[in-house]
């Protein structure tokens, strides 16, 4: 019996040692990288048209068999936060989507590297880009990206409903929008004619707000990145007051918009339940070509307001410091990847053109406007002339600093609160300005 007890104790210690050894060996095996001559690139994107991206990757890999690209996609709502934690958590991508409003943040944090220092040939593309796109990818004279797409925030309306209400032309100012919306409501054509995505998780909200302010000829920040939107009776306050009135007084704003993101608004517009919206221009392609009840009835107009100005933005491919640190082979392959996706292949912008033809995404590469196929494609759902006219009046977002990304999250919450009447527009804007100053102090 004594021997059995001793054996059991020794046996259990021995078993424990064996188990721990096996576990350690398994962990080492899992941790060890696979050998092989192929370069593996991690490519992070937000979730839009993943099958198209996968097909593009497949074609790239066919031309570059020494490279394997693994795609990781994240919801657009969470992209900024997820990438921030990936960059700092040793799980950084090699190449990733980025945006003009995150450029300064990612450069300040040391997460992405200048492309022209590794690939001087990319500089030759710059002269072909729209000015707001070039500005959105350049910092301190260095180029940090090749464009994925560049587009405008535009005013979109249902032409059929507007004509049915007795109006001959699109609204020119926000007062016109109000009058046309009230007429549509009074005639029983649409209960809530205006729908703009107000869901505070949706990063589009701030760009839409900027556009509406720009349309009135206003600014959000001055040349030194100081807030001007909080000045009493500023165009920003007028815009926010207008949105608040549309929601609570005139009741022409879809009350479900605080829980609506961009895709929800597109569905509502497409179903004919709203007549006016402010969205990125590529949504016009979806509305006129997609499976919607009101398909083909939508038009773009210059952003209402005295200045008709709007936001022009660029989303781009960036290369991470992680890729640069992994060695020359990875850098070389990342460069070829960027070239294929954001540059020219055999003298043509193959991937950029594909996005424009298939999805109506805008582009930074101005020569594509001279491409007959592209122009014809745009004119099926939009207007090349009007698009170019609006582009001339487009500006990048002001105030782009390393802390703009986190300020944006707070700003959206305040905008929502003001539109719903939880606080006054003036208080909301002042609160946004206070947060800006606090972040400025914190970030030095």
């Amino acid at each position: 019996m004594m021997r059995w007890k001793t054996l059991t104790r020794r046996g259990s210690i021995g078993l424990l040692v064996v188990l721990l050894t096996v576990a350690a060996a398994a962990a080492a095996a899992l941790g060890a990288g696979g050998g092989g001559a192929k370069t593996s690139l991690k490519f992070d994107v937000w979730s839009y048209s993943i099958p198209t991206i996968q097909d593009n990757i497949k074609k790239f890999q066919q031309g570059h068999p020494e490279v394997t690209v693994s795609l990781r996609d994240t919801s657009w709502f969470d992209y900024h936060d997820v990438l921030a934690t990936r960059f700092t958590g040793d799980n950084a991508p090699d190449v990733a989507y980025s945006s003009d409003h995150w450029l300064r943040e990612w450069v300040a944090a040391g997460w992405i590297v200048p492309l022209d220092e590794h690939f001087p040939q990319f500089k030759s593309y710059q002269k072909e880009w729209a000015p707001y796109a070039l500005e959105g990818m350049t910092l301190d004279g260095k180029l940090y990206g090749l464009p994925y797409y560049a587009d405008l925030v535009t005013f979109i309306y249902n032409d059929r409903l507007v004509k049915k209400a007795g109006f001959k032309a699109a609204p020119q100012k926000w007062g016109d929008v109000m009058r046309q919306a009230l007429a549509l409501k009074k005639k029983g054509l649409v209960k809530y004619p205006i729908n703009i995505p107000l869901k505070k998780d949706d990063p589009w909200l701030i760009e839409i707000f900027y556009s509406m302010v720009y349309g009135r000829g206003g600014h959000m920040f001055d040349g030194d990145d100081n807030p001007v939107f909080n000045k009493p009776n500023s165009p920003a306050e007028q815009t926010l007051q207008w949105l608040h009135n549309a929601m609570t007084r005139w009741k022409i704003f879809n009350p479900a918009s605080p829980e609506s993101a961009e895709p929800d608004v597109v569905k509502t517009m497409g179903a004919g339940n709203s007549a006016f919206t402010v969205l990125a221009k590529y949504n016009l392609a979806e509305l006129n070509l997609g499976q919607h009840k009101e398909r083909g009835k939508f038009r773009m107009a210059l952003m209402p307001g005295g200045a008709h100005s709007t936001v022009g933005f660029v989303r781009f491919y960036a290369m991470s410091k992680n890729a640069a640190d992994r060695g020359d082979d990875v850098v070389k392959d990342s460069g070829e990847f960027l070239q294929y996706f954001g540059g020219k292949t055999n003298g043509k912008y193959t991937v950029v053109k594909r996005w424009a033809l298939e999805k109506g995404l805008g582009f930074a590469n101005l020569p594509l406007y001279n491409d007959k196929q592209v122009a014809a494609s745009i004119n099926k759902w939009g207007s090349v002339n009007l698009e170019q006219k609006q582009a001339k009046l487009a500006h990048v977002k002001e105030g782009l600093t390393p802390y703009w990304g986190v300020w944006d999250i707070y700003a959206r919450q305040q905008l929502d609160a003001a539109i719903l009447g939880q606080i006054s527009p003036r208080k909301a804007l002042q609160s946004m300005a206070d947060r800006w100053e606090r972040l400025k102090k914190q970030y030095g």
Binding site: R9, S12, K199, P255, A256, P258, Q413, Q414, L420
Partner: protein, 307 residues
């Protein structure tokens, strides 16, 4: 026995005790290491983070003392989120308690189909919170939700109600969904308590011509004091720390209408990327929860003493 033999015996006994102690520690060591790694280390790291500037985008982690705590408390959303949390706790805890008690009283009648009723009662509790949140978000959507669709169809409303877009209704919706998920546990606890009450007491009261309300008020309720306290304290802890439901259902909105303290802590850390302030807020929340847990433990001990 000779002295030498006794000494040898003692030596063997000491060796045996040493062997047993070594064996005990050897078998416990891996578990202690794992527990230490996943509890103590994060706790200490969080404490360190809370007194250092730790903003993801900024380089360096300088020591800042209690500045993170000060900044967090001075944030306008700090006060707002505490107020919102107090409203949430103040309404949801009594609601869960009352609903649980009523259902327990019903189940205690041992009506026909008791087994099926019990399963139906437990169903909300079995649904994972995230799934429940997604389900209710779709049901309550202001444009196409099934709840509005049904109410509109039966003529109860003439236009869709914005359950999640209206600030007041959004808060009510979060409270409602939370209560829907939590009341089964309260019901089970109350049912267990009801089943320990001797039926003779109620019978005696009935014979004395006490009404149903009088029997409940003077016989049943006093004997449910212990489970009632447990439910109140436990549900308070749960309500103070609820996060996943808010994340899925409203994202803290519209505006800041459903920004509970737990959501504010998450936002500070993962949205504003300020891990220092997030850690400070976590410790503040942990301190409050610790008080609740101490009260809970005392209540449980009280119940054990009573039984």
């Amino acid at each position: 026995m000779t002295t030498a033999a006794a000494d040898r015996g003692q030596a063997r006994a000491r060796k045996s005790r040493l062997g047993r102690r070594t064996y005990s520690w050897a078998t416990l060591a891996p578990v202690l290491v794992i527990v230490g790694v996943f509890t103590l280390v994060p706790f200490v790291y969080a404490a360190w983070t809370s007194v250092h500037r730790h903003v993801l985008v900024l380089q360096g982690r300088p020591f800042v003392g209690l500045r993170n705590y000060q900044n967090a408390i001075e944030d306008p959303l700090f006060g707002d989120s505490i107020k919102t949390s107090l409203i949430f706790v103040g309404v949801s805890v009594p609601l869960v308690t009352l609903a649980g008690l009523l259902v327990a009283l019903l189940l205690n009648q041992r009506v026909r189909g008791f087994g099926i009723l019990l399963v139906l009662v437990l169903l909300p509790w079995a649904v994972p919170t995230v799934s429940a949140g997604i389900m209710w978000r779709l049901l309550l959507h202001g444009d196409f939700g099934a709840v509005d669709g049904f109410l509109f169809r039966i003529g109860a409303i003439d236009s869709y109600i914005q359950w999640l877009s209206n600030p007041t209704l959004a808060m009510a919706s979060v409270i409602g969904v939370h209560a829907w998920r939590e009341f089964p546990l309260a019901a089970i606890l109350f049912l267990a308590g009801l089943q320990t009450i001797p039926p003779d007491l109620a019978e005696a009261a009935r014979l004395d011509r006490a009404s149903a309300w009088q029997r409940f008020r003077y016989v049943t309720l006093p004997l449910l004091k212990a489970p009632l306290l447990i439910v109140l304290v436990y549900e308070t802890i749960v309500a103070l720390s609820v996060f996943d439901l808010v994340y899925v259902l409203t994202g803290g909105g519209p505006g800041s209408a459903t920004t509970l303290f737990s959501w504010f802590t998450y936002t500070a850390t993962f949205k504003y990327l300020n891990f220092g302030e997030g850690a400070a807020l976590s410790f503040i929340m942990a301190a409050v929860l610790l008080v609740c847990i101490v009260v809970y433990m005392r209540v449980v001990r009280l119940r054990e003493d009573v039984t």
